[in-house]
């Protein structure tokens, strides 16, 4: 998927652990791990809002669009 989740980078910049963020946001660490590892298919605005509020960042810092390279024939 061309949407990249940079949650691990933002967490490292804030020196915050995933479990602490999960506690602050109010979602399970498992769900947050799904988001961090890029397995998530969608993210609710409410979740994104809570993460941005806790980390003090913009959605663009967490999510990044990176176009996929065309497959060679």
């Amino acid at each position: 998927m061309p949407i990249i989740v940079n949650l691990d980078v933002v967490l490292a910049q804030r020196k915050m652990r995933l479990n602490d963020l999960a506690d602050a946001v109010g979602i399970t660490p498992q769900n947050l791990s799904v988001l961090k590892t890029g397995k998530a298919k969608a993210i609710r605005f409410s979740t994104l809002e809570a993460i941005c509020e806790t980390l003090g960042c913009q959605p663009g810092e967490i999510l990044e669009y990176r176009p996929e390279l065309p497959k060679k024939k």
């Binding site: 769900n31 799904v34 988001l35 998530a40 298919k41 969608a42 993210i43 609710r44 979740t47």
Partner: protein, 195 residues
């Protein structure tokens, strides 16, 4: 080597492939949580699985009885009826084309039995809407259609029976339902991966 023994060996090899097909299913899906309301479905599926196993064993014995000339459990000899005018009580009585088609039907039936067993085994484990269920269901749809074509070929060579095309529609409906189930499974997966 006796021809009948040769074909019996082929049936045994096919049985081995079928068992491999069943055993290949990993059991990690059993970890999925099952709602209490589905417990009865699981139990019923396990009962059906046992019945299916019994029918597979009986069918295997029935086929070997016919091929090797063993006594039947319910009558003196097994008879294969391809049409009212064509009844065979041993492989040697069958024309080569009919015998080949019979063996193809037998092998194809084994794979269908494996798919059925796998499907009910998955239901018994509490896995109802996974990609494996869909593939089993889709295979059964293809089985019904291909089975009809094999029967058509078997009876078509004898030109004395008209066949209903209902199984073809049934097969297409099963494939259609498998497709809908697959789409539902994808939606469920997407919802599960929404954070």
């Amino acid at each position: 080597m006796n021809v009948t023994l040769f074909w019996a060996l082929i049936v045994c090899v096919l049985l081995l492939i079928v068992f491999q097909f069943i055993l290949r299913t990993p059991n990690n899906g059993a970890a999925k949580v099952v709602q209490p309301g589905l417990t009865r479905v699981r139990k019923a599926s396990l009962v059906i699985s046992v019945l299916l196993w019994l029918s597979v064993i009986l069918s295997a014995y029935w086929c070997l009885s016919f091929l090797l000339g063993w006594p039947s459990l319910f009558q003196d000899r097994i008879r294969i009826v391809t049409s009212p005018n064509h009844i065979y009580s041993s492989p040697s009585e069958m024309p080569p084309t009919i015998f080949s088609l019979f063996l193809v039907k037998l092998g194809w039936g084994l794979f269908a039995a494996a798919a059925m067993l796998r499907l009910f085994w998955l239901y018994g484990k509490g896995i109802f809407f996974s990609a494996k269920n869909v593939s089993c269901l889709r295979f059964l749809g293809y089985y019904v259609i291909v089975e009809w074509f094999i029967d058509y070929q078997m009876q078509g060579t004898q030109h004395d029976v008209s066949m209903s095309i209902t199984p073809i529609f049934v097969g297409f409906f099963i494939i259609f339902f498998a497709w809908i189930m697959d789409e539902g499974r994808k939606i469920q997966e997407e919802q599960e991966l929404t954070v």
